[in-house]
Amino acid sequence: MALLEVNNLRTSFFTDAGEVKAVNGISFSLDHGKVLGIVGESGSGKSVTAYSILQILASTAKINPESSIKFDGQELVGSGEKVMRKIRGNKISIIFQDPMTSLNPTYTIGHQLMEAIMLHTPRNKQQARERALEMLRLVNINEPEKRMKQYPFEFSGGMRQRIVIAMALACEPDILIADEPTTALDVTIQAQILELMNSLQKELGMAIIMITHDLGVVAQMCDEVIVMYAGSICEQGTAEEIFYNPKHEYTKGLMRSIPTTSTLGTKLQPITGTPIDLLNMPEGCPFAPRCDAAMKACIYKHPENVLINNDHAASCWMNIKEGIEDGSITRLDGTDIAEGGNDNE
């Protein structure tokens, strides 16, 4: 059984202007000790996915009660605050983009670390202190005894992010959600933090959900990748499959947009247009208005998610069209795509 199973997750924000379907029916699973990357542009719903798992959404947001999020077999949707408080920080931890805003400026970092440890584990003050020191050493903070007595403003951005990581890992969670953990940091500091997360992941064996917009970070860190656009998953699969064999026009467009060695001296090929307005979602594929390969079917009907191979699924009519023609693709449940439900003509 997978550690985390998300099934048909729908999260909407109810605003004065109408319902914003931030996450619109996504499903994925995460196994023990795996690193899953969720990539997408701003507004694609990647952070809302993470917040939905932990149920730390704004009060205007609602998770559709038919959605299912199973952690270790336990259903989290509709489970109530009491259950969630036991999960948060203890079983599933999160680190945020900006390390300054996730630390309380009025308490020492020792206080904040120990608070989290004592809340979630049956340790007394002395034991919690020892655990906090141990965690600071683990994330390579020098002189942890002295550092425990200091306030967040006395640390640099990279060190703050280390402390946040130490705090998130102090209770040995099964899953660490990292929401753009290095976006606010400089390249060399980013490299330090990614390296640290990598080695901690190997040492402690937790699973990581890495949310980022940087495909470079994904390539370096992740075993599996989910590409999101406008609240839906376009494509998911192993990192190798997504990077070397992208099957969704959006993923292909993203790859072409990044300057690399092979684009030197040539023009980049950007995706045209701008991201869609989540208030006015089209009926068909949300990417169709920007897609160069869009067909009639794309505008009228949302494409089904189909398996490209065992490690790779994508929801793009192009693949379905090709797959029907050569019979090479199957539905996720293994049935033949050409039989039934094939009303895209």
Binding site: G216, C222, G253, S257, P259, P270, I271
Partner: protein, 336 residues
Amino acid sequence: MNDEIIKTPQDNSEAPLVEVKNLKQYFNINTGLFKSKPLKAVDGISFTIGEGETLGLVGESGCGKTTVGRTLLHLYKPTAGEVYYRGNKIVTPHDIKEFRKHATMVFQDPYSSLNPRMTVADIIGEPLDIHNMYESKAERQEKILELMDHVGLNSEHASRYAHEFSGGQRQRIGIARALAINPDFIVCDEPVSALDVSIQAQIINMFDELQEKIGLSYLFIAHDLLVVRHISNRIAVMYLGKMVELADATEIYDHPLHPYSRALISAVPVPDPNIAKANQRIALGGDIPSPLNAPSGCPFRTRCPYATEQCAAEMPEFKEVYKGHFVACHNLDKVN
């Protein structure tokens, strides 16, 4: 005939478009009631930018790259050093105004760099007003629409306000404003870092096309090395207010000499899993020191694995080691 042309300050056709000599910018920071201390944001930087050339300026936050751009345009009064435009030194307020008819800036944040109370037409038209660049209202309007067309904005957007646009479109408005004066030099201060990847590529291409079409020169300030390498002819690397390396874009990317440039380039996440996972990153210990308490000598010595006593004693000279490849390091033989 070998007619010797006597170069007057007005006619200096051989001079580079923009030249910066030993530019310094110190900010006084209050450290106590009656105490203040200079923060050396930019500390003695020299470079040239030729016509139609793009110089990329990279470095981490706080290294002074934005200050270089702003001081160059005299948005800040330089503490010391000289700026030349086509061989003419910029000194008086009149020089500055003349210079700004040819040189301008695109800012990082497309949200805070546009006045929310002005329409797009007024934002783009403001430089035209300042420099009296039209004869009649109709001409102004015509120029504005032409500029909007240039950057891919529809004419019906002219009467809208900035908040009605997405980040990418706002950046287009900012670029149209910069183009209004018909510049030949633009300081681009992280113009794409606030944008999504797919939009980023659109804007980068636009900078490329404008350069081809009207021969613009750019000082392209960014922290994303992949973007900088794509757009620049030459790249300069800064660390704590000092320039540590300057060379051809591909040269510096393939054969960086300074230990900091090497670490920086090796830290860039490559969007290719096989390369990224096999990549040997040069790990730098520690953090960037505060520019208020910059280390003596070479600013990088506190994080440099090759640092010696000499590095603490004196700042290495910024010298040309190969043709067009400048480095400031005492221990080049050890590093390479």
